[in-house]
């Protein structure tokens, strides 16, 4: 209700902004969206337009371009408006920022999505928005865009909607009908962090919305007793993002939070976004960003959890300050801390144990497991799998190779540290 009072100002803002060209507005509203890392177009399953009058397909998760920041462009990632009544400290769109404000009409977003898609620039749309007037109103406009795309234009590409906490149950149900993925950002790893940096957002409400989405996503997968399919609901699941390095949360705090998010809400992905300096930043933020390497290490830890059978607690257990080792990747760091478990037998170790050998990826482990059914493997055989022998040697033994002396070395960590030049190359 605060907001209806602000309506007059909002209207003047909008009258001014609609005079800007589409290109100017696109620049502002994509600039405003770039700090959200969850651009992937995965998890939607296979769908295409063969035999329909529509446009688009999913299931490929393609990155259509890369920018010099190393990130992939998969979706048209934009805000409906960067006008926002909230004041989240880390956000370029917070109400106290002097950034230029503007908005798209829902029709413009629909048009841009389709035209970009036809030229094979994107896999689909990732639409998010600042909060205008009220959460329901904002959500209604986003749902409108998704409905137009699906129903009027037969669009079968990917749609990711950022859910507004406090949106109504009907809105959520309709959003899930059109969207492949829904997400809501937990933003800060801890509740204290959220209270300090995003005073208008409530951790309880965010978690509640995530729980609500999880229930609907689960329900959307089950057939009823009569075998009837429930209405579609975001088959690509939900994801979230945490900002790293804006507050004092350690990697341990962050990963503990991920752990509860993955298990409690069955998230498909948790994204870690190294806090990035923004124009007209709030005074409570650090001026300098955390090293990008920290974000990278968190993603590696996340990867170990999702594909290598690690628990998050194992990964940070050996780090006294709760921070991941910046100089070593978390798998190597774990192996060095648990060196008593190594070396393992290349020909007999379980798949699970091979996955824990530094330098062996999922693909090489699969190749080893199939190949060793047919022949006895030696170290040289691994070279053919593009495996770095130097990296795996200390952790494996097989006929003709046993590295006992290496794992006994106390200064093993030293041996694995990259040289300073390599480090600066990153």
């Amino acid at each position: 209700m605060i907001l209806s009072l602000a309506l007059a100002e909002l209207r003047t803002y909008h009258e001014q902004t609609m005079k800007q060209s589409l290109s100017e507005r696109l620049a502002i509203l994509s600039d405003a969206a770039k700090y959200d890392a969850s651009c992937s177009s995965s998890g939607a399953g296979k769908r295409d337009s063969a035999g329909t009058k529509g446009l688009g397909s999913t299931g490929n998760g393609i990155c259509h371009a890369y920018t010099p920041d190393g990130r992939c462009i998969s979706l048209l990632k934009i805000l409906l408006t960067n006008f926002c009544i909230y004041d989240c400290a880390y956000c370029i769109n917070r109400s106290s920022s002097n950034v230029q404000r503007t908005r798209f009409t829902p029709d413009e977003v629909v048009w841009l999505t389709l035209e970009f898609y036809r030229r094979n620039y994107i896999e689909g749309l990732f639409l998010s928005s600042g909060i205008i007037r009220s959460p329901e109103d904002t959500m209604a406009q986003m749902v409108h865009v998704a409905r137009e795309l699906r129903q009027v234009h037969g669009f079968r590409g990917y749609i990711h909607l950022k859910t507004i906490p406090n949106a109504s149950a009907e809105q959520l149900a309709e959003a899930g009908l059109y969207a492949d993925r829904l997400s809501i950002n937990v933003e800060m790893p801890t509740e204290q962090g959220l209270a300090a940096y995003a005073p208008e957002k409530k951790a309880g409400i965010i978690r509640h919305s995530m729980g609500e989405m999880r229930t609907r996503i689960d329900a959307g997968k089950e057939r009823s007793l009569s075998g009837r399919r429930p209405p579609r609901f975001a088959p690509g699941g939900q994801s979230t993002q945490m900002i790293v390095g804006a507050d004092t949360a350690t990697d341990h705090d962050i990963l503990a939070s991920s752990s509860s998010l993955y298990s409690g809400y069955k998230l498909r992905r948790v994204y870690y976004s190294a806090f990035s300096p923004i124009p007209d930043a709030s005074a409570i933020l650090p001026v300098r960003p955390p090293p990008l390497l920290r974000e990278h290490r968190l993603y590696q830890a996340d990867w170990l959890y999702r594909f290598y059978g690690f628990q998050f607690s194992e990964i940070t257990a050996a780090q006294p300050d709760g921070m991941l080792d910046l100089a070593l990747d978390p798998k190597l760091a774990w192996a060095l801390a648990n060196r008593a478990l190594f070396p393992v037998d290349l020909n007999r170790a379980s798949r699970e144990m091979l996955l824990r050998v530094p330098g062996l990826g999922v693909r090489s482990v699969n190749a080893i497991v199939t190949s060793r059914r047919h022949k006895h493997l030696r170290l040289e055989d691994l070279a053919r799998l593009n495996v770095s022998l130097r990296k795996v040697k200390p952790f494996l033994h097989t006929t003709g190779w046993s590295p006992t002396r290496l794992t006994d070395q106390i200064n093993l960590r030293q041996a694995f540290l990259p040289s300073p030049q390599q480090l600066s190359l990153f």
């Binding site: 209700m1 605060i2 602000a6 100002e9 803002y13 696109l26 620049a27 994509s30 600039d31 969206a33 770039k34 295409d48 337009s49 063969a50 009058k53 529509g54 446009l55 688009g56 397909s57 490929n60 259509h64 371009a65 890369y66 920018t67 010099p68 920041d69 190393g70 990130r71 992939c72 462009i73 048209l76 990632k77 009544i85 109400s95 920022s97 002097n98 035209e115 970009f116 036809r118 030229r119 094979n120 620039y121 190294a274 990035s276 300096p277 923004i278 124009p279 007209d280 930043a281 005074a283 960003p289 990008l292 190749a367 199939t370 190949s371 047919h374 493997l377 053919r384 799998l385 190359l425």
Partner: protein
């Protein structure tokens, strides 16, 4: 006279197969068979090659389905030694039936590497091909044209992807290795080499705007960018010409953010805060 066959560069699996079969039925082992590409610096002094005649009572070659799939796949590679490799795998698989399931076997390792390269090539084509709007086709549908330079003979591999995705428009994809066209009903593949068309599309300006704006100047990871989007693709992409300029400006943009003085909040924010204190939310 030496045994062997002269084949075209782009010989496909279905064209290679009858020749390979014939050589196999003639009982010629891989070491005694030469596969030569038609246009590869043919010289008068090259030994003439004959495809041997099959022995009447020779048993048919048999392959497990994974091995057959592997051969089909590597025949799409541009490497001219693929014919030789495929024949050797065919030959060896008769006495080693599970050969294709041993990724560490040198021949299979090489074949798998080729499969990987083909897959990557196809994947990059699906990612980096750009359609350009060229108006309407005769049947009144929108018409688009694209130019791409694949490394391998992957047009049959990628055609289903494009027809299932860009169903409601007409389009043609031109490449030096042939073309794919789609008119809403029928997909036509051709192996006639095309030359690069001169295309422009005014929408590319909006795409470039997006590409510049979505870039975060505070994170520079050009190595990651280049490993996923190697330079060889840049010349046909409308957005990559902006990269030097984006990188050149990045440093100043970040400096400006670091040194900026806190500014006064806009009037709107103050009004909002005022309302909140006057009338706290329930």
């Amino acid at each position: 006279m030496a045994f062997g066959a002269i084949v075209e560069h782009d010989t496909s699996f279905s064209e290679w197969r009858p020749i390979a079969r014939q050589c196999f039925l003639a009982g010629v082992p891989p070491e005694e068979l030469e596969w030569r590409c038609a246009s590869a610096e043919a010289s008068l002094f090259d030994a003439p090659l004959t495809v041997p005649s099959p022995k009447p009572d020779a048993p048919n070659p048999i392959l497990r389905s994974n091995c057959l799939a592997l051969l089909k796949s590597i025949l799409r590679h541009a490497d001219q030694t693929r014919f030789d490799l495929a024949y050797r795998i065919l030959w060896r698989a008769q006495s080693e039936p599970s050969l294709a399931a041993i990724p560490l076997d040198p021949d299979i390792a090489r074949a798998l590497r080729m499969v990987h390269q083909i897959r990557r090539d196809a994947h990059k084509m699906e990612a980096f091909l750009r359609f350009r709007d060229i108006g309407e086709s005769q049947n009144g549908r929108r018409l688009f044209l694209a130019w791409f330079e694949p490394d391998h003979y992957i047009l049959p591999t990628v055609a289903p992807f494009f027809t299932r995705r860009f169903t409601d428009m007409d389009w043609a994809i031109l490449t030096p290795k042939g073309s794919i066209t789609w008119n809403g009903e029928k997909c036509t593949l051709s192996r006639t080499a095309c030359s690069k068309p001169d295309l422009s599309d005014s929408l590319e300006q909006l795409w470039q705007t997006y590409y510049m704006a979505i870039f975060n100047p505070a994170r520079i990871k050009t190595k990651a960018m280049r490993s996923e989007m190697p330079r060889k693709y840049w010349k046909n992409l409308p957005e990559t010409r902006l990269i030097p300029q984006m990188l050149a400006q990045a440093g100043t943009r970040v400096k400006a953010m670091e040194t900026q003085q806190p500014q006064e909040a806009p009037y709107f924010h103050k009004r909002l805060q005022q309302r909140r204190t006057e009338k706290p939310e329930p």
